[in-house]
């Protein structure tokens, strides 16, 4: 697809990734989305903003991924009756984003099938919209009962199992409602939003530089991806290019984040089939990576290491040798453990065909990120829109077509090995130089976008700055938005005790989408 085919006047956004932005009318939203979908494009994110301070109404922002690059569509909405045409029929992942946009801002998707609340629960009354500028978040609101209408499944012998939001293990809160017959799952419905903490509202009290710290805390396990996406958004609107050493170090940190998370997940996958041996071995490797992070970069999980303009840490002189030695050791150990997983009949019996999402279904439902790649959806920002320094690294994307737990485990192993290869390349290319470039104040009304392939998938941050470098709107978007609904499909027909394994093979973020 060429951009010209859409008959819209786009203007290119400056920055590290190819992106275009356009204002369109409400009547054009559905046709444009349909055309993008037709040509193999995807919905990345959907959010709203309150522009009434600028003498306008509300605005809806839709981010679409197409082969040329990222398209940002903005719709101006009426100040009194903000409504827009529903696009969840074209892009199924839009459904929950639209519901959240209503709960937070009161933007209504006309004709949407599912109009239930999403993020609100019982904690604020209907008709209160926290992201509207007049909303005072210091006020105490009346709380009520959630009374969320789950979709019932009727029939002989069908019963429900409610699980969570508080679980027996130390994991994030989320409610899962299973409708089952015997052990077979007929339907799973998720109820998330228990980790809502007002991140977007809080961002609006900060200036653009302070926002970087907040963005790095949206989802702690993906702090590098969020911090980089935020830095990218701010740099695109201020015209800053970080120095080459800083960019290489950012990639190094992002790959290390990918490595430790994938190692942890591979261990958990073993643990969930009671193969504690694999759990212990992978977690020893993960812990070694975290300790090296702490020793070399000053933070085990690399929080606040990536800042607007560059990086806040340097690789100490002895660091290169240590990282090379670690890389070699990891490659050996992972090779051994991979062989054990591959040859373990009991483990393979649990992994194979479990929680299958076929490539067709994945494409239809918009599965993205790592689970997407395990279901034949070949999207990896590092390979498709390679920003510096990935444009010089030639990232090899790992994909699989089976779409089951085994495929997701294999893609994880291959991505870790690829990250280790990239680590070597990066260390090789690393030359002396400055670590930061000064970041000036953003012009009032500036609009920036940042997108990074985190370990779960693409992390996107949409940023608008008002006067005095204050944040007017920040929307962090986690790939879990797209993937949680697909998890509901992945468990259909599986047995109840396999759900934790399937869930773990996706390993989606609760906090990243509850905001």
């Amino acid at each position: 697809m060429q951009l010209e085919d859409l008959n819209i006047e786009f203007h290119a956004l400056a920055g590290a990734i190819p992106a275009w932005r356009a204002q369109i009318g409400a009547d054009r939203l559905q046709p444009v989305c349909a055309q993008v979908r037709e040509s193999g494009g995807r919905l990345l994110a959907l959010w709203g903003s309150d522009e009434r301070a600028n003498g306008q109404g509300f605005a809806l922002h839709v981010a679409l991924a197409t082969h040329p690059g990222l398209l940002m569509l903005s719709l101006a909405l009426d100040a009194n009756q903000p409504a827009y045409p529903d696009i969840s029929a074209i892009f199924p992942p839009a459904e929950r984003m639209q519901r959240a946009a209503y709960d937070m801002l009161g933007l209504c998707a006309k004709d949407a099938v599912d109009q239930r609340k999403w993020i609100r629960h019982g904690c604020w009354p209907e008709g209160q919209f926290p992201l509207r500028k007049e909303f005072d978040f210091t006020q105490k609101m009346a709380t009520g009962l959630d009374a969320y209408p789950f979709i019932p499944v009727l029939g002989d012998g069908v019963h429900e199992i409610p699980v969570g939001p508080v679980h027996a293990g130390t994991i994030e809160p989320g409610h899962f409602r299973f409708s089952i017959v015997g052990e077979r799952v007929l339907r799973l419905e998720e109820r998330l939003g228990y980790k809502h903490k007002g991140i977007e509202k809080l961002a609006e009290t900060m200036d653009a530089l302070q926002g970087a710290k907040l963005a790095g805390r949206v989802s702690g396990d993906a702090t590098c991806a969020y911090a980089w996406a935020y830095a990218m958004a701010l740099e695109s609107m201020t015209g800053v290019t970080p120095p080459p050493r800083a960019l290489l170090l950012r990639a190094l940190l992002l790959e290390r984040e990918r490595i430790h998370n994938h190692l942890g997940d591979l261990g958990y996958l073993g643990n969930d089939v009671a193969l504690s041996f694999g759990f212990a071995q992978f977690w020893i490797l993960k812990e070694d990576v975290l300790r090296a992070n702490g020793a070399l970069f000053g933070h085990r999980y690399l929080m606040d290491r990536i800042i607007p303009g560059g990086v806040a840490c340097d690789l100490p002189p002895q660091g290169k040798a240590r990282l090379l030695a670690e890389t070699e050791k990891l490659e050996q150990e992972i090779g051994t453990l991979r062989a054990i997983y591959d040859e373990h009949a009991g483990l393979q019996d649990r992994f194979l065909t479990t929680g299958r999402v076929s490539p067709d279904r994945a494409a239809k439902l918009g599965l993205t990120g790592l689970p997407g790649r395990a279901s034949g959806q070949a999207w990896d920002l590092r390979a498709q829109y390679p920003c510096a320094p990935y444009n010089e690294l030639d990232v090899r994307m790992a994909t699989h077509r089976n779409g089951d737990v085994a495929a997701r485990a294999i893609v994880r192993v291959e991505e870790v090995l690829e990250s280790l290869r990239l680590t070597r390349l990066i260390l090789d290319k690393l030359t002396e130089g400055p670590l930061t470039a000064p970041v000036p104040s953003a012009p009032a009304g500036a609009y920036g976008i940042g997108m990074v392939e985190g370990w779960r998938g693409e992390v996107l941050i949409g940023l608008q700055v008002g006067a005095d470098n204050r944040i007017a709107r920040m929307h962090p978007h986690d790939p879990s938005w797209q993937n949680w609904p697909v998890l509901e499909h992945a468990v259909i027909g599986n047995i109840v005790p396999d759900f934790p394994l399937i869930n773990k093979s996706f390993n989606l973020s609760y906090t990243g989408q509850d905001l």
Binding site: H159, A168, V273, R350, I495
Partner: protein, 317 residues
């Protein structure tokens, strides 16, 4: 001292011994598992610390719990204690020995299971019912297989009384019984299933949806939970010692031979150390299977036990 009095004293000693060392066996298995996974482990005494902690806590009981829910831990504990008390752990002639009929033993285990399953459903949580349902699926397959193992052993000794079986196997001329080899493999499989071990269940999991035994006791806390945990460890010890009595009865003191007791104690210790390490090894190298593989697994156990019986008839050994 009359023989009767010393018998009663000895019965008392064995009963207290099994209750006292049962958590130690569990601690040993867990410690071995930790070592096999490159972990340092919590030490063999950890189950005792857990019990002490639980006994010091206040019990939380659901408002709609019936008396059944409250008494089940005590029934469970008594059943397991009784079972472990009548198995010839150290010597064959105990006052309770006539009760140690293998069919009665299977009955005691079944009684405990019925109560725990009923208690699990008593409060009406979905996990309790889920666990009870799965437990029954495993149990109704494990029980006939266990009976078959016992019958194979009783064909050799012409008795279903454990002391007689031990006498026949240990204290007559040493003979190899091929039939017992099949029965032994079947018994190990049943032991894994009945004691909620990997690959049938995972005793250390925190995933509510995958649990079998743990799902049934999710609502228990404090002293009730402590009794159930203790009963579980006694059950493991009971099964292990039944296994010793059937397949490696060497070292168990003969009737009236009090001098053999110290040796019997040492033999028991050695056998428990070996069995615990073996169990840990088995659990470390296996993954938990899908719940619907459990029927295949126990079906295989049943088949092996039947094969053992057939071989006995074919070879007469």
């Amino acid at each position: 001292m009359s023989a009767q009095l010393s018998g009663i004293l000895f019965q008392l000693f064995q009963s207290l011994l099994v209750v006292a060392i049962a958590p130690l066996l569990l601690g040993w298995v867990n410690q071995c598992r930790a070592w096999l996974q490159n972990r340092s482990g919590a030490g063999v005494l950890q189950p005792y610390r857990t019990l002490r902690k639980l006994f010091h806590k206040d019990a939380v009981i659901a408002h709609n719990a019936s008396p059944l829910f409250r008494v089940t831990p005590y029934i469970l504990f008594s059943c397991m204690w009784l079972a472990a008390g009548v198995v010839p752990v150290l010597a064959t002639d105990l006052p309770f020995s006539p009760a140690a009929d293998v069919i009665a033993l299977v009955g005691i285990f079944a009684l405990a299971r019925v109560f725990i399953a009923l208690a699990a459903m008593d409060i009406g949580t979905s996990f309790g019912t889920l666990g009870a349902r799965r437990e029954m699926l495993v149990a109704f397959l494990a029980e006939p297989a266990l009976l078959m193992v016992f019958f194979t052993a009783s064909l050799i000794s012409h008795s279903t009384q454990l002391p007689t079986i031990v006498e026949a196997l240990a204290h007559t001329q040493f003979t190899l019984y091929p039939s017992m080899a099949f029965a032994a493999i079947a018994f190990v499989m049943i032991l894994l299933a009945e004691n909620a071990r990997i690959p049938v269940d995972n005793p250390t999991t925190h995933l509510e949806l995958t649990m079998i035994h743990e799902a049934m006791i999710l609502e228990y806390s404090a002293r009730h939970l402590a009794l159930i945990e203790w009963a579980s460890s006694i059950k493991l010890l009971a099964y292990t010692t039944i296994g010793f009595a059937l397949f490696v009865p060497y070292g168990i003191a003969e009737a009236g031979n009090w001098a053999a007791l110290p040796l019997a104690l040492i033999a028991l210790g050695v056998k428990l150390v070996a069995a615990g390490a073996g169990l840990a090894l088995l659990e470390t190298i296996s993954a938990k299977m899908r719940i619907f593989r459990a029927p295949e697994f126990l079906g295989t156990a049943f088949l092996l036990a039947v094969l053992g019986m057939l071989i006995h008839f074919l070879l007469g050994a």
